[in-house]
């Protein structure tokens, strides 16, 4: 049943009876106020990006290509680097260090954060170190890490891990502390053991916090892996950046940079997706609020 706006909203018209769920189907709300641009925000975004690309292309061609390349040249470099396999190899190296370091940080961060949130003793014991290290730029630790772990993959994993660990640990701790006493009482009233209190209430209620920490940690991990590739054995996408900049191959230099942008965006969306999947009750809360 399709009714026009005018028919549905004028008082004289008989409305069709609602279905069993109380909703009348086929009724369109009156259109939002505002012009085309407000109703289609993507038009503005796409236009904005196109304008910048065109200006960059024109301005870039007028300059010495060492200072600033231009989109078409970057596109050609991309094709070349994909063709000879360099980009794929580098991306794989970067992802490997990223995944391993992030995995370690996730497990350790949730574990340590959970213990710090649940036990006052653990909290008081570890807090000075966690606070100090969280506030230490991990770049400053790279020389030490090199001394201890060399220049290989291990060092990179540790640098990534250090970058990602703290947001996860600190958020997990906050989430664990934030658990509602009322909910803990419920399971305790049913005779839950400490372990059951942890698994049935404390951890699930901390999940939204943990996932917020994960999202922060993803960004930091990407920074960490590039830093590691700069300062330890040159490899991966960060390594390509160094190699091409040393060769003044500016067009090629943009290719790993843009790949890193895509990687960061992709991983952040992945984290957001995981967050929605893991906290469906929050998602429908958001939907209900809309």
């Amino acid at each position: 049943m399709e009714l026009t706006k005018a028919a549905a909203l004028s008082t004289g018209t008989e409305l069709p009876p609602p279905g069993p769920d109380g909703l009348i189907y086929g009724l369109r709300p009156p259109p939002d106020e505002g012009g085309l641009l407000v109703r289609h925000p993507s038009v503005i975004r796409v236009t904005s990006v196109c304008v910048v690309l065109v200006v960059w292309e024109l301005y870039g061609r007028a300059l010495n290509p060492v200072f600033l390349s231009y989109p078409v040249a970057i596109g050609r470099a991309l094709v070349e680097l994909v063709g000879n396999g360099q980009l794929l190899d580098a991306t794989f190296q970067t992802l490997r260090a990223l995944a391993a370091g992030f995995g370690v940080a996730l497990v350790a961060g949730v574990g340590v954060g959970f213990l710090m949130g649940r036990s006052r003793l653990v909290n008081l014991t570890l807090d000075p170190f966690v606070t100090a290290l969280y506030n230490t730029p991990s770049v400053a630790l790279i020389p030490l890490i090199q001394l201890w772990f060399g220049l290989g993959l291990t060092a990179k994993i540790i640098i990534v891990g250090l970058s990602a660990f703290f947001p996860i640990a600190i958020n997990t701790q906050a989430g664990v502390r934030n658990v509602g006493q009322g909910l803990v009482d419920v399971v305790r009233a049913y005779g839950a053991t400490d372990r059951q209190v942890s698994t049935k209430v404390v951890l699930p209620s901390a999940v939204p916090f943990i996932m917020a920490g994960v999202r922060l940690a993803v960004g930091r991990a990407v920074i960490g892996v590039v830093t590691a590739e700069f300062f330890t054995a040159i490899s991966g996408l960060g390594g390509l950046v160094i190699v091409f900049s040393n060769a003044f191959a500016t067009a090629k230099l943009f290719v790993p940079v843009l790949t890193l942008v895509a990687l960061g965006l992709g991983l952040t969306s992945l984290a957001k997706w995981a967050e929605r999947r893991l906290t469906p009750w929050k998602e429908s809360e958001r939907a209900a609020a809309r």
């Binding site: 009322g182 009482d185 419920v186 005779g191 209430v201 429908s284 809360e285 209900a288």
Partner: protein, 275 residues
């Protein structure tokens, strides 16, 4: 009734401690509280707000320690909290990340009931409280009344010897309240469950109970006991019956005489009042 009492509360005293500018101090919330509830009986604890009724409910369930006295369940000292006595919470206290089904299964999970059995039992109690079709909803998608139905199903599914209900309908609107009171009476009739029902509403206490314990203001203790001689099952007719009005009047008189129910008990007394 003494030997077979489902619940026996003996000389219970409860203190809350708090720091003050003049050093630590204790607040006497309950003192010398003694009463018992027979198997299958529906007893209300009625009193002004702040008289320690909620604290009493938490003590019986085992969430609070007593300073003195004892709680006996079926003649034995009540140990740590367990599925023998289940609390229905004032603010429902459903786990927001669990669906209706998941929430109802919670107590059984803690008891270690096998999954198939759990599911079957949960569905049975969901049906009993009239929530069939809402099993996969999350608590925030439900009205207050439906949330408390879920809370009730969760407690019943543990098959407790007795239910402790802490102002379970206090946060609901008047219509929903009336509706759920009738549902509760129906369920009690089906399940033959023993109930201690904490409330500050005279009407609610009279309509639901076999017996009413009237509590004094802080420190709370039962100061009067009234049997409600209204035939069961009670329907809406009972509320407007002459007998109901009489009993209501009697309870109201006792409250006026023996407690300060009608004198804004909480003014200027904030301190450690638990809601």
């Amino acid at each position: 009734m003494t030997a077979a009492a489902a619940l026996d509360v003996r000389n219970v005293r409860k203190l809350f401690f708090q720091p003050t500018p003049r050093g630590p101090a204790g607040l006497l919330v309950l003192d010398d509280v003694s009463f018992s509830v027979g198997a299958g009986e529906f007893v209300s604890a009625l009193g002004p707000s702040g008289c320690g009724k909620t604290t009493l409910a938490r003590i019986i369930v085992g969430l609070e320690e007593v300073a003195a006295g004892a709680v006996l369940i079926g003649g034995r000292p009540a140990g740590p909290p367990g599925p023998d006595r289940c609390l229905v919470f004032q603010h429902y206290a459903l786990l927001p990340w669990r669906t209706v089904l998941g929430n109802v299964e919670l107590a059984m999970e803690i008891q270690g009931v096998a999954k198939d059995e759990r599911r079957t039992r949960a569905r049975r109690f969901i049906e009993l409280v009239g929530l069939t079709g809402f099993e996969t909803r999350y608590p925030h998608q439900l009205s207050g009344g439906m949330q408390q139905r879920t809370g009730l199903a969760r407690a019943l599914a543990a098959e407790p010897r007795m239910l402790i209900m802490d102002e379970p309908f206090g946060a609901l609107d008047a219509q929903m309240r009336t509706l759920l009171q009738d549902e509760l009476l129906r369920i009690c009739d089906v399940m033959k469950v023993t109930v201690l029902f904490v409330t500050h509403s005279i009407d609610e206490a009279v309509y639901l109970s076999d017996r009413i314990l009237v509590f004094s203001a802080r420190p709370g203790r039962p100061v009067a006991e009234l049997a409600v001689e209204l035939p069961k099952p009670r329907g809406q007719g009972a509320r407007s019956s002459h007998r109901f009005t009489e009993i209501r009047k009697a309870v109201s008189d006792v409250l006026a005489e023996r407690t300060d129910y009608y004198r804004g008990v909480d003014e200027g007394r904030g301190a450690l009042h638990r809601d």
